[in-house]
């Protein structure tokens, strides 16, 4: 594959008509030019209602009597039903139409790293705004700011249950006999920062859970005086914060109320295990399922040296020769669907809704990752028999609606000279144009990036 096609496919989201010309002779420059905060928030996504607006319309979670709980559940499900399709279509339309596709790939990468899944209905209606408010604004800044924004966003606080975690010795804890919920604390270290082998213990999980207590979402009719701090729709309630010192990873944290979480997150972001973990995930996403160790080391060093400057890490990644070598990656359903829609420049909102549907049919329903670990990022997980057959079915269906396209022109645009002899012959000898287009989409070359 040419360097321009690698830029468009591996780093971007699949080549669009005209994109190779835009990349020209400087694929690295084309990618680096995208690393700009001004590209982070497409207008269609900025136009959607934000977290605070959505939370206004929702009653909330905690301490309600049983029938209020039921009403709440209904309200949340209704909101999710109405908002998730709109958020999903906006996200895919942004990916399909983007002139800065690396930005959209990074958005999806971090959104998956800090997964909030609609599999927990309570969070489903907030995932769109979570990406717009917590992920996108911090794509090009420091990791620690991304970490803070994601961890303390209402969507994450609800998804991983911090919203209902109560310090056992806090005023609310002693009065109502409530206690800790350690879900967020554990996943925060295992999945978001240190990695599972990052050297923490069960005691650290419990201590971090204490540190995080108090951060929740606003309850209905909550008096303003109960709130000590507000951030992006989340609130800090001192009455549920665990008082006293906490010891996390050997360091004592004095009781500092709402600041404790910030300090702990800063410390987690600085640890070498975090640099290594993030570097590994980026290298796996952009280079190979088993990325070259040297590449991981280089990225981790850059991460540490720059204090977690993500733009510096991405730039280093683009500079690595290893990122331009190898067989690349088997496309996930997201990658494959978006690449198809981009190849056809299928840019309308109606098309985007079909892309949402296609992802669902292909086993990767947008915003509904199966667990807090997010969607898998390796070939073995996606190259299952049933999944491949579903892609064959889908490719044929697309071909039927795209019979007017010139298959070889489409091949030049999307995979270029990497098209194998077998694929080329199959496409040229196909009994119909529809089949020829479909064969290109399901060809081994189009299945990879």
């Amino acid at each position: 594959m040419t360097a321009a096609l690698l830029a468009a496919n591996r780093f971007g989201l699949g080549s669009r008509p005209g994109e190779l010309a835009a990349i020209g002779g400087d694929p690295r420059g084309w990618l680096k030019a995208q690393l700009d905060p001004r590209n982070a928030l497409p207008a269609t996504i900025a136009a959607l209602p934000g977290t605070e607006k959505r939370l206004e319309t929702l009653p909330t979670l905690m301490g309600d009597p049983a029938d209020a709980q039921k009403k709440l559940a209904q309200a949340i499900l209704k909101a999710a039903r109405e908002q998730v399709p709109e958020d999903s279509a906006a996200r895919l339309q942004a990916a399909i139409t983007s002139k800065t596709p690396l930005v959209e790939r990074l958005t999806a990468f971090w959104s998956n790293h800090f997964t909030v899944s609609g599999a927990r209905p309570v969070a489903a209606g907030l995932i769109g705004p979570y990406e717009a408010e917590a992920i996108r604004p911090h794509l090009f800044g420091r990791f620690v700011d991304l970490l803070k924004a994601a961890t303390l966003h209402p969507a994450m606080l609800l998804y991983l249950d911090n919203a209902t975690s109560v310090g056992p010795n806090s005023r609310a804890g002693t009065r109502r006999g409530k206690g800790l919920n350690e879900n967020l604390a554990r996943e925060l270290m295992e999945l978001h920062t240190l990695g599972v082998d990052g050297g923490y213990t069960q005691a650290d999980v419990t201590e971090l859970a204490k540190i995080l207590t108090g951060w929740t979402i606003r309850r209905p009719n909550q008096p303003q005086r109960a709130i000590a701090a507000e951030r992006g729709g989340a609130v800090f309630i001192p009455a549920i914060h665990e008082p006293g010192d906490k010891v996390l990873l050997g360091k004592t944290y004095r009781d500092q109320g709402e600041n404790e979480a910030d300090v702990a997150l800063e410390d987690l972001a600085r640890r070498p295990a975090t640099a290594r973990f993030i570097a590994t995930k980026l290298a796996r996403h952009f280079i190979a399922d088993d990325p070259p160790p040297a590449a991981v080391t280089t990225l981790a060093e850059t991460f540490t040296k720059t204090g977690g400057d993500l733009t510096a890490v991405y730039s280093k990644l683009v500079d690595l020769d290893a990122a331009w070598a190898g067989d690349g990656k088997y496309r996930s359903p997201y990658d494959w669907v978006v690449a198809i829609f981009r190849a056809f420049a299928a840019d309308t909102p109606e098309r985007a809704r079909r892309a949402v549907q296609a992802m669902n049919q292909l086993g990767q329903r947008l915003y509904f990752a199966p667990s807090p670990a997010g969607w898998p990022d390796d070939s073995a997980s996606w190259l299952a028999p049933e999944s491949l057959l579903a892609r064959v079915d889908y490719a044929e269906a697309v071909g039927r609606t795209r019979g007017e396209s010139d298959p070889m022109q489409l091949a030049d645009l999307s995979v270029g000279p990497s098209l194998s002899t077998e694929s080329k012959l199959s496409i040229q000898r196909a009994p119909s144009r529809s089949d020829a287009v479909a064969l290109l989409l399901i060809s081994p070359e189009f299945l990879r990036r």
């Binding site: 409530k178 800790l180 919920n181 599972v196 299952a384 064959v392 269906a397 064969l439 399901i442 299945l447």
Partner: protein
Amino acid sequence: MLNRRQMLSLTGSLAVMGTLPARLALADVPTDARFVLAIQRGAMDGLHAVPPYADPGYKALRGSLALGDTGGADSVLDLDGKFGLHPTLTELKSWYDKGELLVVHAVATPYRERSHFDGQDLLENGTTQPHAGNSGWLNRAIGLMGGGDRRLGLALGPEVPLALRGNTAVASWAPEKLPAAAPDFVNLVQAMYAKQPALQAVLRQAVDADQMAAAAVGSNAGMGALRPGNAARILAESGGRLLAQPNGPRIAVLELQGWDTHTNQNGRMAQALTQMNDALAALKAALGPIWAKTVVLTATEFGRTARPNGSNGTDHGTATALFLGGGAVEGKRVVTNWPGLDSAQLYQNRDLAPTTDFRSVAKAVLHAHLGLPQDALDRVVFPGSAGAKPLTDLVRV
């Protein structure tokens, strides 16, 4: 849609590829026994599914999660005067009463940390380390069964879980969400993959499974899309029909969701257990007379905290309970070396303490039910597990 790819296997693809194994007409049937592994992802709370309701420490320990024993609608379904089933598990209770269900309690894999993802990896890879290999213990077991080209293993759902991944080819099945491509088109794709052995093999497996499914399950029309509420039942019913085929698969993996009950556990467990109960009922019904030759084993990565957390839920723990059901099970028993519920008896004063190794149950089934030799179980299927002796007399031989 019915049998739409059956034609493919008889016509085009043989000519195109020339190497397809004979599929449905298979002579070498290694065993008549059927085995279903039901993986409960998210960590099932064994103290909630199978409450030790007569333990003197139970009510105080479990607080808002304790179930009643007064015989009312919310009461446990008594098993043996000591343990009961959650009231939603009516189907399992009927199995128990017929001698077709046993419970193993206070059971855990060798994993002693509390990460879902590592815990599941270890549960499925069959070693004592997470990520210690890319194959699953059930795949290795199938490899030892000597089925030749035949796909004895079946993943129910679009993805193949790690337990079934490995060197031995398995099939997967899920209801279609897309209109099927024409057989001719699938042939063109297979021809295009002529020099891509990996893609070719995967596609061939898919076509095989699809063909078998068409024969066994029939049209999927009307089945509808899988949703969280019905997926397990649909997959279990279809899996039962596929397993019931004389030349069908022998071993299937079903996934059951909804166990990670950090909040509102009473409601969420009732839902997850109802879905499991309904799915297992559908499986038994679909198996028909083959039920007599079947063993179903449930498995989850670990248990949950013995005490409730601050959100009427539980956090990640250690030991849990498992179900062993089926016509071939020597049931009507709760098998346990009960560790007790006092603070000092809990693991790290927090979780139900593990007293039975999960591998001791799995190895017992693989040995007594599927006929795998002990030595291979100790070394290949669960490497280095000679210390985890198989339990005896779990299965009618």
